[in-house]
Amino acid sequence: MSEKIEMIECPVTLSYNFSAGAAPTRFLRGMKDGRLTGQRSPLTGKVIVPPRGACPESGLPTSEEVALPDTATVITFTIVYLPIPTSKLDPPFVVAKLVLDNSDQTFILLVSGCANEDVKIGMRVKAVWKDQSEWDYSMDNIAYFEPTGEPPVDIEALKTRRLAEARQYIEKKAGSK
């Protein structure tokens, strides 16, 4: 008798033809040129990035494009210790939710360039871009974000300030009608 069979590999793969849609296409064209571009909500003035073409609060179309810097604040993060099948990343590594400066929506990206233990909520970070020859229509053009060395930001204060600015935007718009 030969060996027993106890386990089988049964991977499941779905092959999509992914259509980015109009707004993400504009965003990805910007990425190809090394630019981060958000879109402003016509209701709240909040800047949405990556843009989906509509304001998530009002559903209104977002047509105003806003050029954004490649600096950001760490809102929250996790240290990944387990290898992810198909991922080229060697654990442990840090995955963080960042909010780009002048924007109002978090992004999930890698933070590196420092010890994992040194990543903190409120840390200031900046994009490390891959070599321009590698740029494609992709978020992967940014290899990771690294600390800028600036003092940390109080994220509650940041949130309060951005929400206050949104309220002012709404009031100003109501006043101008």
Partner: protein, 153 residues
């Protein structure tokens, strides 16, 4: 995220291939494990149900009485097509890259049926009740594809 190819026209929406995959490894348990080991060794195995019925592919419990099944029986490489569905245009992931049938095949000596492919060449050759026999894969490793397909007997 996505990888686009050559520069598309400025007004077109970007598109790209995008694969979502899950790398499952599955425990097969003692009964399916024995069935798969049988396939690797070139032997189709069924299991006796509590009322003497032979179940193939084997199950751990009798589907009617829920009693545990333990007695394996060796079955021949031949069977009968109970029902089938003809695939005129195989998709990329189908193992047969030519027209074929998905069929429920009752292995001779079994009382239940097994889902597999029949390579009959064309649809006109497929009939309910037709006799088929196993075409073994060139290399067997303990997997359902150790049976490459069935073919008319």
């Amino acid at each position: 995220m996505t990888q686009a190819g050559s520069a598309p026209a400025p007004d077109t929406v970007l598109r790209a291939g995008f694969d979502v995959g899950f790398t499952y490894t599955r425990m097969v348990g003692p009964v399916i494990g024995e069935f798969l080991a049988g396939l690797r060794d070139g032997q189709i195995k069924g299991i006796k149900g509590s009322q003497g019925r032979v179940i193939c592919p084997p199950t751990e419990y009798d589907p009617q009485t829920a009693e545990e099944c333990t007695e394996f029986v060796n079955l021949p490489e031949t069977g009968t097509v109970e029902t089938f569905n003809w695939v005129q245009q195989p998709r990329a992931k189908h193992l047969l890259q030519k027209p074929f049938a998905w069929a429920l095949i009752r292995i001779d000596g079994a009382d239940t049926s097994l889902l597999h492919m029949v390579d009959a060449g064309n649809e006109a050759k497929m009939k309910r009740g037709m006799k088929v026999k196993v075409r073994w894969a060139a290399e067997r490793r303990g997997f359902i594809t150790d049976i490459a397909c069935f073919e008319p007997a």
